[in-house]
Each structure stands twice: as C-alpha cells, then as structure tokens.
C-alpha cells in the first residue's frame, strides 16, 4: 500500500515499548500490531490523535506516502 506506517520508527525514537504505547493510547496490542505491521486499512482520527499525543509527534511522523515502486526499492 502507498501509505507506510512508521510507528515502529517513532516508538524506537521515543524508546517506548508496544505495551507502554498500548496503555497510553488505549488500544489493544493486537490492534496496535495490525497498525505497526501495515495491515490496517484505515485509522480513526481519534486513534491518530492519541498516538501523536503519546509519542509527542505529528501525524506526518507516523504516516508517510510512498509510491509502490519507491516502497519496493526500500524493501529491497
């Protein structure tokens, strides 16, 4: 998908574990995992707001647009 979720990068920058983020955001671990692995099809504004608040970042830090070719190059 063209939208890449950089949640793991932001979590590493803030040295925050998935459990800790889960508690702060109020999302289940499975839902956070879906988001982190890029399986999510949509994200609610309320969830994005909570994540940005917990990680002290902007939505653009968590989400990034990459066209498919660029994404394939990054993966390789």
């Amino acid at each position: 998908m063209a939208i890449v979720v950089n949640l793991d990068v932001m979590m590493a920058k803030r040295k925050m574990s998935l459990n800790e983020l889960s508690e702060k955001v109020g999302l289940t671990l499975s839902n956070l995992s879906i988001l982190k692995t890029g399986k999510a099809k949509a994200i609610r504004f309320s969830t994005l707001e909570a994540i940005c608040k917990a990680l002290a970042c902007q939505p653009g830090d968590v989400l990034e647009y990459a066209n498919d070719e660029q994404e394939a190059t990054t993966r390789n």
């Binding site: 999302l27 839902n31 879906i34 999510a40 099809k41 949509a42 994200i43 969830t47």
Partner: protein, 164 residues
C-alpha cells in the same frame, strides 16, 4: 434435509451413469434399470444425438449433486456466531454458479430435445430432466445477487475489523 437430497441426487446420478453404460454395451438390459430411460432407438438412429442428449442428462445430474455438496459443506462449516466471512461468501457464490449452470444447461438441452423431436427422434421420458430450467435460472440469479451483496458485506466487515 440437505444430506437426504444430496444422497438422493447422488443415487440418481449414479443410476443414470449405469444406464448410460448399459445403453451402449447391453441395450436389452436397460428396461430393468433405473427410470427405464431407454434411448437405444435414438442410439440406433444417430449416435451424435444419443451422446448429446445423454451428456446433457449426465451433466445436469452431476451439477445437481455438486450443488448440494456445496450446500452441505456450507451448512457444516458455517459459524453462525460469525457468518460474514470469505468462506461463506465464496460458497454462496459457488451455489449461484452451479444453479445458473444447471438452469442454462437445462434450457439448452430442452431446445436441443425439441429440435431433435421435430427431426423425428424419440425423446420420450427425457423432459423430466430439464423441466425446471427457468426456475433454476431465476433461483440462480437471485442467489447471485444475494452472494454479491454478502461479498460486499464481508468486505465492509473486513475493512471495519482492520480499522484501528
């Protein structure tokens, strides 16, 4: 109920296959077999017509067996607590395909049988195999519409499940 129909249709299809084999190998014995479907006269007149009509009869019977096999599989594997999943959606779609196929093959078979009758072939006793072609087409079309709506519903549910 579906099991009883499935077993009945399997027996019918099996009986017709046996009939077909005996019609070719030992035509005299056909009178003692299932439904007494004797097309040996047609076999003598035209082998093409005989094999054509028998192919239609066998294809329709086998398709009906497959249809009820899919229905049984659907009923056994469907989880009523979470019915909206890809498996159920696909099975309903298969049911619609089989039903439509039965209807269309029956319709073509009926036209072919009518044409053969006009050309002087004896087609007595075969009408019962494609008497309900229009009902199958109508039913298939309705099931296809339901399957399409169901598939869309499953897609929406999947999207909802993957919204965090």
């Amino acid at each position: 109920m579906a099991w009883i129909i499935f077993v009945g249709l399997s027996i019918e299809a099996g009986g017709l296959i046996v009939n077909f084999i005996f019609s070719v190998l030992n035509p005299e014995f056909v009178q003692n077999l299932y439904q007494k479907l004797d097309l040996t006269e047609m076999y003598r007149d035209s082998r093409l017509a005989f094999f054509g009509i028998y192919s239609f009869i066998l294809v329709i019977s086998i398709l009906k067996v497959f249809l009820f096999y899919v229905v049984i599989r659907l009923m056994h594997k469907m989880d009523l607590t979470k019915p909206f999943n890809t498996f159920v959606s696909n099975q309903i779609l298969y049911v619609s395909y089989y039903t439509l196929s039965i209807g269309l093959v029956s319709l073509i078979a009926r036209q072919v049988a009518d044409k053969l009758m006009q050309h002087g072939f004896v087609t007595d006793g075969v009408d019962q195999f494609w008497a309900d072609s229009q009902a199958f087409i109508l039913m298939g079309a309705i099931i296809y519409v339901i399957a399409t709506i169901f598939k869309k519903g499953v897609d929406i549910q999947n999207e909802n499940d993957l919204t965090v």
